[in-house]
């Protein structure tokens, strides 16, 4: 028989070899990137559990030979980090909740309705201008306002400040997600007996869930990391983890042990939050509802 398949020829063999080689190269590159990115995190964590002696060892040990919780004990028992952690959690959770709720409704209204006088565009752009101000420019007026409101050194001040900082981001993120949901689905719900609000609740929000979750994760991370406003608006009672961690940089040196322990602690809640909500981050939830 004169028929030969691709596999029988040199060309076929060459293609298969090439495909296999390119896969190997791809995974090797990805692995290298993961190692490069993860190494500082790994280093921070191992530093935090090393004894002071091993920490100063040259060359440094890749794997700690002896584990100690001393640095963590120092943070909680001497520095009172539990209080700062509670402040941080309250501020991040409350500001994210408020920003997501109000921002999503704002974005939905702009995505679905056309307002007169070009208001859709003006409002959306106005919101962006808010974010264009460098926060440092607004920090003194904001401080004076909160001083007059007697909110300085309260978590309320930090919650409000974080909502102010995150809202433009939430609105700009969510408007895209809402625009991606076919309007016919909502119209079908309206005809099926829903009101605008129940259609929003039962049809639109479930479909926008991946967008809401992605936005919420980023908002939580931003609020959690926020330093400037926390530094200026809180003195002692409302101090958050980033500000408290910065106090470990002292006049005559950096307390590396407690510093790496604080850094590790600081990462954990965000990591847990992301792991919990990641299942909502599935793509293609709206697939199949309408014919593309």
């Amino acid at each position: 028989m004169a028929i030969c398949t691709m596999e029988d020829t040199d060309v076929g063999r060459w293609f298969r070899l090439q495909r296999r080689t390119s896969a190997v190269i791809k995974y090797a590159l990805l692995l290298a990137l993961v190692v490069i990115w993860m190494f500082p995190v790994y280093w921070m964590f191992t530093m935090s559990v090393k004894t002071p002696l091993e920490r100063e060892q040259r060359p440094p040990a890749l794997i700690p030979s002896e584990w100690t919780g001393e640095n963590y004990r120092y943070l909680f028992e001497v520095r009172g980090f539990q209080r700062y952690a509670v402040n941080s959690i309250v501020v991040a959770a409350a500001s994210t909740g408020i920003a997501i709720l109000t921002g999503a409704l704002f974005a939905y209204a702009l995505a679905r309705f056309t307002y007169p006088f070009n208001l859709n565009y003006l409002l959306l752009f106005g919101v962006l201008i808010l974010r264009m101000f460098p926060p440092t420019v607004t920090i003194i007026p904001v401080f004076v306002i909160f001083l007059n409101l007697r909110l300085i050194d309260t978590v309320w001040a930090l919650i409000i400040a974080n909502v102010y900082l995150q809202l433009p981001f939430v609105i700009w993120m969510m408007i895209g997600f809402f625009q991606d949901i076919p309007v016919e689905m909502e119209e079908a719900a309206l005809v099926d007996g829903d009101s605008r609000l129940t259609a929003l609740w039962r049809i639109v929000l479930p479909l926008a869930a991946p967008g809401l979750v992605a936005t919420a994760i980023l908002t939580v991370i931003f609020s959690w990391n926020e330093f400037l406003f926390a530094l200026i608006l809180a003195e002692s009672k409302a101090v958050t983890l980033p500000v408290a961690t910065s106090t470990l940089v002292q006049q005559f040196g950096i307390l590396w042990g407690p510093m790496t322990a604080a850094g590790s602690l600081f990462t954990i809640p965000v990591l847990i939050f992301a792991l919990i909500v990641q299942k909502h981050l599935v793509k293609g939830l709206t697939l199949g509802g309408v014919k593309a």
Binding site: V191, T198, L287, G289
Partner: protein, 373 residues
């Protein structure tokens, strides 16, 4: 089956309804009455205002002026949920995060019907539509035809007063479309619910509609039964829009010589029936003003042997469709089409003779494009 004939059809009336988007008039003074249990097809090219009319009836678009009634109720300012209508969208608009059974029973869920009860009814309707094996799937796992049935089921389940269908079959492939067309007709016969069906597909309109309403650029052109609208088109547009291949139009004038009247085209003349002349005179039409003769392809006969009363022409192209042959005819520079038997034989350029069956031809006024014979 208990889902049969449970709904009472309700009359729908558009009374001088206009819709403007900014300066664009989408629907212009629409007057239309749909009777109880009727299936009315709104037909027209895209952008003619048919979908806008349907959306106004659904409450998804506001009405600029005029009144819309469902039954005796003016619904202009009622939200969609208070109109007791059901709609099937062109894109189906299923809820992608719900299973089929939840999609179908969604209107009942909103109405507050118990879960077991609404699921029972959904199963019953799924049987009717032959989707009972799909109830636990999500819309994304269904084919186009199956999604279409789910959308239909969701519309049927709430026993609405009126069904609104917005090109429900246009996303299906040709074979499935023909199959679903038949099922739509059967379903309408079983349920007897007043239905307004929007389409741009003339075959759907002709097969499904009790009556057809043809729209063009926001203006209603003609409302009539499919047979009537095909045989007695109100104007040039209706004549050309319905029928495939479409109607031929020839310019000319009517001349009288003695007792005989003739239609004088650019390159031919043909005797016309006496009653055409009477109609022309009573309609106060000056015959010499110019007229348009409209004739459908099936009313033109082709002869290879040219006789005196034939119109001489040449074959331009021959298209064999299997069950019939469509012949393009070169009539002195004008290409017209004729529909003849499948066994027709002829070569491009062959001289032929044409005979027009004028009993089934029309005269239109070239200015208004209205038909007067």
């Amino acid at each position: 089956m208990t889902v049969e004939n449970t709904s009472q059809g309700t009359q729908v009336t558009f009374d001088n309804v206009t819709k403007r988007f900014g300066t664009v008039v989408a629907v212009d003074r629409l007057d239309l009455a749909v009777s109880e249990g009727e299936l009315l097809v709104l037909l027209g090219p895209s952008g003619c205002g048919k979908t806008t009319s349907l959306r106004m009836l659904a409450g998804l678009e506001s009405v600029t002026s005029g009144t819309i009634r469902i039954g005796n109720t003016v619904v202009n300012d009622l939200p969609p949920r208070s109109r007791n209508i059901a709609m099937v969208f062109q894109s189906y608009a299923l809820y992608p995060h719900m299973r089929v059974i939840d999609n179908v029973s969604y209107p009942l869920k909103i109405a507050g019907v118990q879960k077991s009860e609404r699921y029972d009814l959904a199963r019953e309707i799924a049987m009717l539509l032959q989707i009972d094996h799909l109830l636990d799937r999500k819309p994304r796992e269904l084919s186009g035809g199956e999604r279409q049935r789910v959308a239909l089921g969701r519309a049927i389940i709430r026993r609405p007063n009126v069904f609104l269908m917005d090109e429900p079959l246009s996303n299906l492939d040709a074979k499935l479309r023909v199959q679903m067309r038949g099922e739509m007709k059967r379903l309408h016969a079983e349920l007897g619910v007043t239905t307004i069906y929007v389409t741009h597909d003339q075959a759907e309109a002709l097969t499904l509609g009790d009556r057809i309403a043809i729209m063009r650029q926001g203006v209603l052109q003609q409302v009539d039964s499919p047979k009537e609208i095909y045989e007695r088109p109100a104007n040039v547009f209706v004549g050309s829009f319905l029928g495939s291949p479409s109607m031929n139009f020839l310019d000319g004038t009517v001349r009288q010589e003695g007792g005989r009247a003739e239609f004088q085209g650019e390159s031919f003349r043909i005797s016309i029936p006496a009653h055409w002349l009477r109609a022309l005179e009573s309609g106060d039409k000056r015959a010499d003003k110019g007229l348009i003769l409209g004739i459908r392809p099936e009313n033109i006969q082709i002869f290879h042997q040219i006789q005196d009363d034939h119109i001489p022409a040449k074959i331009y192209v021959v298209e064999n469709m299997g069950n019939e042959t469509v012949v393009g005819v070169d009539l002195d520079g004008h290409i017209i089409t004729a529909r003849v038997d499948a066994d027709f034989e002829g070569e491009i350029g062959d001289p032929i003779g044409l005979r027009f069956n004028l009993e089934k031809a029309y005269l239109f006024d070239p200015e208004t494009e209205e038909r007067f014979v």
